[in-house]
């Protein structure tokens, strides 16, 4: 047989697309050509594959060899086509049974000695293979736990090209999967119990997490804003199996996952403030997910919010509202999921001290406020001031544990799950203005209270909706069907408004 085809998968954003690797061997001067929109790493596969085949003791055809990657319009990126490429050549030269390669898909980067190196996106590849009805997926053994997360397809982990050939030929059986290594981060390592002197904030944080509201923490440096933010993922309800699989796939595709199987911790991403817009929402010549996608189902934390590039913050708006970001490049349109809780921290003024200790000029403070009051303030339902705890509070207060807070959160989430059944949103924080009007169920007295704030304190229309959204969660915490004036009062004391900035601005 001088022609063979093997199934592989190309990464397209965080999805995988089927690719057929065809190898054709015919008489002629020895040559090795790869066609079909391959990138640099893939074109270099010629050298790796040739080395790996020869060093594994197989014959490399000293003839005219053409490899085609179909479909031709799809850009193929990365080195994980090495294994399917090698197997296509071996099948075309009759060294592997072509019928055995037909029922499986393959992925993996080859070393020159025939070993398989770790790869990115094993989960996405396995999902693609399952979608296309393959019975088996061959991946590097170091990533087999990831591929094994997909039900209904047999994940085969191999260490070398020889091992793959032997299993295909029936000379060897697939080895059992290696044991899952211990989780890198212990869930209990970041417990609310370690945060001392901030008991006054816990009730508000409970509500924020329960409703999935975006949160703005303001306060002088060193008071514990970051410490609190880091503990928020641990307060959210555990991820469902689908959510966890999605998170694992995203992190695996971007090479941030070390093959430890399913990620069960909600992600916490804290990009530095010098990040670009495409770093934040995704992009690049070969579009990669941004930080907001890496924070999908978790928490995106923007520390020193006012220092972020305005364009980058502006770019976050639409993904935060839609729960996904669409990136268009010349040849492709990619969609990345971006459902996350946004938490931002800022100092009250450039010097950080705020209030009477502030040493900033009015112009500096005004500039600082303008940066804050820009594109994202609208998306922040809650602003909490994190004051420096007194020594007495640090020592005297007994903090709550994350588990206790999570329990209260779960109760309110159950109420919301009933409310949003059959809609695209899952919590109050994601409600659109229209949903706020239709689903909040505020009593006339509660609306009167809100109107009072609107008229006298200059609450904006957006601010009005934010308070209502938050009040809905406050009511959900006590399983109250209607939103009463009390709930509005509580919500309004935690609200975000443009006027929470000094009048001097």
């Amino acid at each position: 047989m001088a022609l063979a085809a093997v199934a592989a998968f190309a990464m397209d954003g965080v999805e995988s697309r089927r690719v057929t690797v065809e190898a054709d061997v015919r008489r002629g001067l020895p040559a090795f050509t790869v066609v079909g929109l391959a990138d640099k790493a893939l074109r270099e596969a010629r050298e790796r594959v040739q080395g790996a085949i020869k060093n594994s003791g197989y014959r490399f055809p000293e003839e005219r060899l053409t490899v085609n990657l179909a479909p031709a319009y799809l850009r193929k990126v990365g080195p994980s086509f090495d294994l399917p490429l090698a197997l296509a050549i071996l099948a075309a030269t009759g060294q592997v049974d072509a019928t055995a390669t037909g029922t499986a898909a393959f992925a993996g980067e080859l070393a020159l000695n025939g070993d398989l190196r770790p790869m990115r996106g094993a989960l996405a590849v396995a999902q693609g293979a399952h979608r296309h009805g393959f019975a088996r997926i061959f991946v590097p053994r170091s990533r087999v736990l990831e591929a094994a997360l997909v039900d209904g397809i047999e994940a085969v982990g191999v260490d070398t090209l020889t091992e793959a050939v032997d299993i295909l030929a029936g000379r060897a059986e697939p080895r059992p999967h290696p044991p899952a290594p211990a989780e890198m981060i212990d869930a209990d390592a970041l417990d609310l119990f370690d945060v001392r002197g901030h008991n006054g904030l816990i009730e508000a944080i409970k509500v924020v997490v329960a409703g999935g509201h975006n949160l703005h923490l303001q306060g002088p440096p060193g008071t514990g804003k970051t410490m609190l933010a880091r503990r928020l993922p641990g307060l959210l309800p555990p991820m469902t199996r689908e959510e966890a699989t999605e998170v694992t796939r995203i992190h695996s595709v971007t090479g941030r996952h070390r093959g430890t199987g399913l990620i069960t911790q909600r992600p916490f991403r804290s990009p530095h403030h010098t990040i670009s817009a495409s770093g934040l929402i995704g992009g690049g010549a070969t579009p990669q997910p941004g930080e907001i996608t890496l924070a999908h189902h978790g928490v995106l934390f923007l520390d020193e919010w006012s220092e972020f590039n305005r364009g980058a913050l502006e770019a976050l708006r639409q993904p935060l509202e839609d729960g996904r970001v669409v990136i268009v490049r010349g040849q492709s349109v990619l969609t990345f999921p971006t459902r996350c809780m946004l938490v931002a921290a800022s100092n009250p003024c450039p010097c950080g001290m705020g209030g009477n200790d502030c040493r900033c000029s009015a112009a500096d403070v005004a500039r600082h406020d303008r940066r804050l009051s820009g594109p994202l303030l609208d998306r922040m339902d809650v602003t909490l001031y994190v004051a420096r705890p007194t020594a007495e509070q640090m020592q005297g207060q007994v903090p709550q544990t994350s588990a206790a807070v999570r329990e209260a959160v779960l109760g309110a989430r159950a109420v919301q799950a009933r409310r949003f059944e059959g809609t695209a949103v899952s919590c109050n924080g994601q409600m659109t203005p229209r949903m706020v009007r239709e689903l909040v169920a505020a009593t006339p007295a509660a609306l009167d209270a809100l109107n009072l704030l609107h008229d006298r304190e200059g609450l904006s229309a957006r601010g009005y909706h934010r308070v209502l959204r938050l009040a809905r969660t406050v009511a959900d915490m006590e399983d109250s069907e209607r939103v009463h004036p009390l709930h509005v009062q509580i919500a309004s004391s935690w609200r975000t408004d443009a006027k929470s900035m000094p009048v001097a601005a």
Partner: protein, 357 residues
């Protein structure tokens, strides 16, 4: 829009604008208020000694100047006319022409000056805002300079009470300086007046600020300084007010803060103490003659709300600080209720301050 000012006064205004650069050079060596403005036209020309300016002065035509004033949407009145604000006549060097947009204070308007530092603390802006609001609510016109910090806060307070407020500009009255206060400039023109002695479009020189301070001081019946360092321009306003016999008052500040050193110095040298709007009303109309609109102390509050309100007044600002280890939900609800009753308001970063009574 009427530009009634007489030819001679318009010509003098044009002369001062033409000499602005030379006045700046002279002024930089002396500081304080520019003494040159007290000179007559001929004396100014002689001092300047520039032929071109003399020619411009003698060739001055009033009609285009009036047209420019009207085109800028301003009105004008000069010191030769009856409509000229009478308070300004107390000055040794009253502005020749007053340009304004809005409604000029009438003779029976009771106006009070609130000024202070641009670099103000949260305390200072809150006090200025509160005084502006309460005094405007009591029917007074709040006069200030629309600078950043205290001045703007006083204007904003008066606007919040839907009261009258007048901003005296160092630039032309048609312009907003600082530029970012354009919205405030518009609002003040709509509910009071923006005024200036300089012609429309004038870009302020540094001497123009102490110069306009004399107009501020003379427009009010008393001057209240809210926050000032020892070198603050608002002390110039206080000096000018004293010179023309207007009472001066100051708001005390922490003795450890340089931002209050100027006001504390004023108090040491005999200025009246202002701890609230009532003190200003007492100063103007005699003790107890007029009462500031009632506030917290008269409001019936439950013991819990009273305790919470007192804690806010003590300076514990954020909901979390106020809650401490106690019932955070009750505190949050209490703050919401106090705000809706107008006793506290949200300030920086979600902290709360008591509304001044």
């Amino acid at each position: 829009m009427t530009a009634t000012a007489c030819d001679a006064c318009l010509r003098r205004t044009d002369l001062i604008a033409a000499l602005a650069g030379r006045i700046e050079i002279e002024w930089l060596g002396r500081r304080g208020r520019p003494q040159l403005l007290a000179l007559g036209d001929e004396a100014l020309l002689e001092w300047a000694g520039v032929a071109e300016i003399g020619a411009r002065f003698r060739g001055f035509a009033a009609a285009p100047a009036r047209a420019a004033i009207a085109a800028a949407g301003l009105s004008a009145v000069c010191r030769c006319e009856d409509d000229y604000p009478p308070g300004l006549r107390d000055l040794p060097d009253p502005p020749a022409v007053l340009h304004w947009r809005g409604r000029l204070p009438a003779e029976d308007d009771e106006a009070v000056v609130i000024v202070g530092a641009r670099r103000a603390t949260a305390y200072g802006t809150e006090v200025a805002h509160g005084l502006g609001r309460s005094l405007a609510a009591a029917g007074l016109t709040v006069v200030s300079g629309m600078a950043l910090g205290i001045d703007s806060a006083a204007h904003a307070g008066a606007l919040e009470a839907s009261g009258r407020t007048v901003a005296v500009m160092a630039c032309g009255a048609d312009r907003s300086y600082p530029a970012r206060k354009q919205a405030l400039h518009r609002q003040i023109a709509a509910s009071g007046a923006v005024v200036s002695e300089m012609p429309p479009g004038f870009t302020p020189f540094r001497w123009a600020f102490p110069a306009r301070n004399r107009t501020i001081a003379a427009l009010g019946r008393a001057t209240v300084v809210v926050e000032a360092t020892e070198r603050s321009g608002s002390l110039i306003t206080a000096d000018l007010a004293m010179e023309i016999g207007r009472p001066v008052a100051a708001v005390p500040g922490p003795i450890t803060s340089t931002r209050s050193a100027g006001t504390n110095l004023l108090l040491k040298t005999g200025a009246e103490v202002v701890c609230g709007a009532q003190d200003v009303l007492d100063l103007l109309f005699g003790a107890g003659a007029r009462a500031a609109p009632s506030r917290a102390d008269q409001e019936p509050l439950s013991p819990e709300l009273r305790r919470l309100f007192d804690a806010v007044r003590d300076g514990r600002g954020s909901p979390a600080e106020l809650a401490g280890d106690g019932n955070a939900l009750a505190v949050a609800a209490g703050l919401g209720e106090l705000e809706m009753r107008g006793l506290v308001r949200r300030s920086m970063g979600g902290t709360y301050v008591a509304v001044l009574g």
